[in-house]
Amino acid sequence: MVHLYALTEHPANLPHVRGIGATPLASAALGAIEAIFSEIDGDSAEPTESAILAHAHVVDEVARINDAVLPARLARPYENELALLAAVRDRDVQFRAALDRVRGCVEMGVRVLRKTNGNEADTPSGSQYMRSRLTSVKLAETVADELDEAVSGLTRDALRGVTGTRELVLTAAYLLAREDGGSFRAAVETVASDRPDLSYVCVGPWPAYSFALVDGGAS
């Protein structure tokens, strides 16, 4: 069975690391696209902690030495290399466009949390709950707009997940040039300083997992 780690551009730089189950990495090109994969036992594709860590490590290393990388999701493996390449061929145009979009970029995330005092009622009435939900969702949208505006000069794409729950206000993912990570963090800190009731947590940088979705939109 063949497990895919990432799609990148041909000619690819192959990192000197091993994949799931310590299998050696290989690559195969299809026109301008190169797939990085390894031959694994069927069982080792199960999403165990070691498989997840091995997959993520390979993606990190591929992204470190290649400019345009689409990280693959840990999914069921392909029967063989030909089946993998056939799947790439089916969406060749979309993958090339996605590679152009992420070239030279990393992903950073922002998680916005509400600083709770622990005194909130646990079982509000139905109408209280609906009012508080509405307020929470409006706050989340305002916070998301403020954040988007503050980092818009640095970012190339953005995805937001407005949750508006009691603790978690917002999760957002941004695509930005590799060298702009420091400026991005500074911009988020500036927004955070105007919102003392909320905690802003920057996560990343990591390869552009959220922006590799060729169909667009976060899952």
Binding site: P71, L74, R76, R111, V203, W206, A218, S219
Partner: protein, 64 residues
């Protein structure tokens, strides 16, 4: 950082990583993804993070 909060931070990092690897990233055919029982993993991570922040603040308060 204390050992406790370091361990929680490690858990948060791992949860975020699991979320990326299983829920984000490109899929070639779209119908072959694995899932962790529809759990919102980032939310789980943030619950851990909140616990981590709470632990840290309590420890700092105890120490002062």
């Amino acid at each position: 950082m204390t050992n406790g909060s370091t361990a929680l931070q490690h858990e948060v990092t791992l949860v975020e990583l699991v979320d990326r690897v299983l829920n984000k990233g490109v899929t070639l055919t779209g119908d072959i993804t694995l899932s962790v029982a529809n759990v919102d993993l980032v939310y789980v991570g943030l619950r851990l993070l909140l616990a981590s922040v709470g632990t840290l603040e309590r420890l700092e308060a105890d120490a002062s």
